[in-house]
Subunit: 162 residues, 2 copies
């Protein structure tokens, strides 16, 4: 597996799983009916943001991550990031590799912390992964997320100092 900068040419490979994940509405706070141009704008970041893809030996896109400052001004030393793994390639460490990459990027860029603003508490695989990478659940916003099947559930804010 290789993690490299995402280019415009990667978007057609990202969009199908991005769209499926967003439309399911279980893990992301994007509008479930987000269309392709809005999806591209939200995911394919310009500096100081950055987007990468994880690809296999054949060049197949397995997943993607975007990273960016989470605040401006006096809190601009806090980064954030988002991750999507193609469900067809789940369970093989793609999310973990992307997470490690993003944390390394944040350290190199001089960020002092990374914050995830909205981790749905029922997304237990992601919560466990971020914990294993050093993140703590700082708080859980009660009924912060409306899950399409489970109703109102908590929304974690996760954080780690770098």
């Amino acid at each position: 597996m290789l993690i490299r900068e995402a280019t415009a040419a990667d978007w057609p490979a990202i969009w199908p799983f991005f769209h499926a994940i967003v439309e399911a509405g279980e893990t992301y706070t994007y509008p479930r009916d987000m269309d392709e141009p809005a999806g591209r704008e939200s995911w394919m970041l310009q500096p100081p943001g950055r987007t990468v893809v994880a690809v296999d030996e054949a060049g197949t896109v397995l997943g993607s991550a975007k990273m960016n400052p989470n605040h401006m001004g006096g809190a601009s030393h806090i980064a954030s990031a988002s991750f999507m793994v193609d469900p067809r390639y789940g369970g093989r460490g793609v999310g973990r590799a992307l997470g490690e990459h993003v944390l390394a990027w944040a350290r190199v860029e001089g960020y002092r912390a990374m914050q995830f603003n909205a981790v749905v508490e029922t997304n237990t695989v992601a919560v466990a992964l971020w914990k294993s990478l050093g993140f703590q659940i700082m708080t859980t916003l009660p009924e912060g997320f409306r899950h399409p099947a489970k109703g109102y559930v908590g929304l974690h804010i996760m954080y780690q100092q770098l």
Copy 2:
């Protein structure tokens, strides 16, 4: 004191205290060198956001608040808001009146919670005011804010269900 919708004609009255507060860099996460067009774009919101001003009997602008969804999609029932009071008119309840107005707006609009993402812990007057209006400190991001005089201080995330 009256609270009413802000119009484009109010911006010249807002900008001087907006600019002074942002340039001081002690309470807001805006870039301290934010220029006037960027300030206007960040503060004068379009629907579904909304911006109001508090004015006295003579029509003088005493302070302003903006309010907006804090998340999209499955968390779009969480609102947020920001407040600026002209320091010349501090201590006379302008911030409290704006806070009460914003909470009433959020309830009428059907939001289920209000979240403040970045309340600097040394801004004790604001923290006490939001607590008195029902907000809780959900967590404090350690060293989340770089205060120009006090160095790295905590950044509160405050929340209340409506």
